[in-house]
């Protein structure tokens, strides 16, 4: 069964790379290996940075699958329910008028509207969820090392118990360049 803590972990897993060590690796393949090593070493907080999404990164890092689809579904449902309630209030209670001999509550004619409203709400919920969960409203953020948005792949260790030697040990076997962030 899902616990509240697990849902919370899935939703709010993002952490700012404000302290700790960041290791620049040579390629996307190396980043995947580095993520595996960090997972195996049970590092509490770490994250990978790349110019593009990398296939298999979720499993390599061992992060929970995204909860975005649930938010999308709730958004769509809310859109349709709100739309139907509002139209019913207007057509049945507030100002009932007979158009073309049809009943006050003529639901088949509302289907196109409810469809559009469901999609509208679902889309906006999805986008705002991504902005919210990734902290994207903080526009003054910078990537932990320069070039992440161009061609640099890096892994960040935020675990306060780790020293530089520990990071080197975890990533042994990969050619990396380790830097400390304060």
């Amino acid at each position: 069964m899902l616990s509240i803590a697990e849902i919370k972990r899935g939703l709010f897993s993002y952490e700012e790379a404000s302290r700790g060590f960041v290791a620049v690796v040579k390629s996307a393949a190396d980043l995947l290996k580095a993520a595996e090593k960090a997972k195996e070493a049970n590092v509490k907080s770490f994250d990978c940075y790349s110019p593009c999404p990398i296939h298999g990164m979720d499993t390599a890092m061992g992060i929970h699958r995204s909860w975005i689809p649930v938010i999308t579904f709730l958004g769509g449902l809310l859109g349709a329910v709100l739309g139907l309630s509002y139209i019913t209030f207007i057509d049945v209670f507030n100002w009932p008028i007979i158009y073309g001999g049809k009943p006050y509550f003529s639901w088949p004619a509302y289907v196109p509207l409810l469809f559009e409203l469901a999609i509208y709400f679902a889309s906006f919920f999805t986008v705002f969820a991504v902005i919210g969960l990734g902290g994207l409203w903080k526009i003054n953020r910078k990537p932990p090392v320069e070039g992440i948005t161009s061609d640099v792949f890096a892994i960040w260790f935020g675990d306060a118990t780790l020293q530089k030697a520990d990071v080197e040990r975890i990533l042994s076997g990969l050619s990396v360049e380790i830097k400390e962030i304060q």
């Binding site: 110019p51 139209i87 161009s150």
Partner: protein, 461 residues
Amino acid sequence: MATEKNIYHIGKPLAAMDDDVLRPIEAFPTKLWWGAFGVSAALALLGVGTIIYAFIVGLGIFALNNPVGWGFMIVNFVFWVGIGHAGTLISAILYLFRQKWRTSINRAAEAMTIFAVIVAAIFPLIHVGRPWFVFWTFPYPNERGPLWANFRSPLLWDLFAIATYFSVSLIFWYMGLVPDFATLRDRFERYKAKSKIGNFLLKVKAVAYRVLALGWVGSAKTWQHYEKMVMLLSALATPLVLSVHTIVSFDFATSVIPGWHATIFPPYFVAGAIYSGFAMVLTLMIITREVFKLKEYITLKHLENMAIVILVTGMMVSFAYTTEFVMAAYSASHNEQYAFINRLKGPFAWAFWIMFTCNVVSPHFMWFKKLRTNVKALFAISIVVNIGMWFERFVIVVISLHRDYLPSSWDSYDPTWADYAVLIGSFGIFFTLFLMFIRTIPTIALAEVKADETNSQLSHH
């Protein structure tokens, strides 16, 4: 299948891709760009000026008359909404079908969608005659009774469909841009640090890209949510894009006008929209790849794929034309039968035959590989298809309206200077927006191209 994948493989270092794609944004615009921008902006001014004049003196300056109550404005509206379908089709439907070739053209195609919908939205605004009352169509509690909108009317469905389509396309496009804006933000940050004298424009651009990039840092945890979002928005946009032209066709199909009252309208309109939309994408992509030297990204194979889509949808449109005639012949309704004879032989038969030649005959050139891979031929056919698709809407709107049930009410339709000015102006507005887009926003989805390159290398190891 390995060779199939490699066709779209660019094989360049990732940083070199940044330089290639972002060059038009960072360099001073060329004379060619200024020339094109000047012409487009002049045409846009002509259109906007005519629209303002129409708002001042009223709709009398257009050729609308008693039977032909829907004229050029509705023709143009349907035409531009149709153009606006290809972008979402490429970015959403081809994404769901895992068509790798969409990656390098989806950004520009989506931009085209947004600009086409903006242009399309102008026409109902003109058509209502008193645009300052257009907010009455929104069902909000008001002091006029309250006077509500009619939720059973396809015209109101249309408002909702277009508004939803525009908003969803816009956020889909924008969220796709966020990682690329972050690339631009970091580049402009470097330029700003390098230049010793305070360059005002550079500072403005750096701030603009910082705000637009939304604090994107490329974290894997954010990428995970982000990729899920792209998949979900594609899944939402796919039925949405099909619903939009379906609902536009309801505006016609739910009426009782001979030539409009047909159940084939929704699929017929959607096929026509994809057909004209792809033709417009082809026109714009050919121009973009030539002018901005992006031939490694938008290859002949991309153009050929689009040509095949045009061929397929062109045949679907031809099939719909034929079906309409068969249904009319079989309908046992004299009015319906007359409406179609009038298309073939009436005073506007020339419009029908232009439509027929452009839409039914021209796509068949795409059967030949030589023509499909000939850029000049493709460019010519893409323009011919769009002319044909404009005439299709003219045929549907004007020919059906000018002669309906009562011969005593028949009339003709003679477009005025204002009709033509707004039509030409709409192209001006569209191209002005598109030219501004290619100077300020990455024309190719960089992060997606990089993802394709990186992940295809991963699977080789």
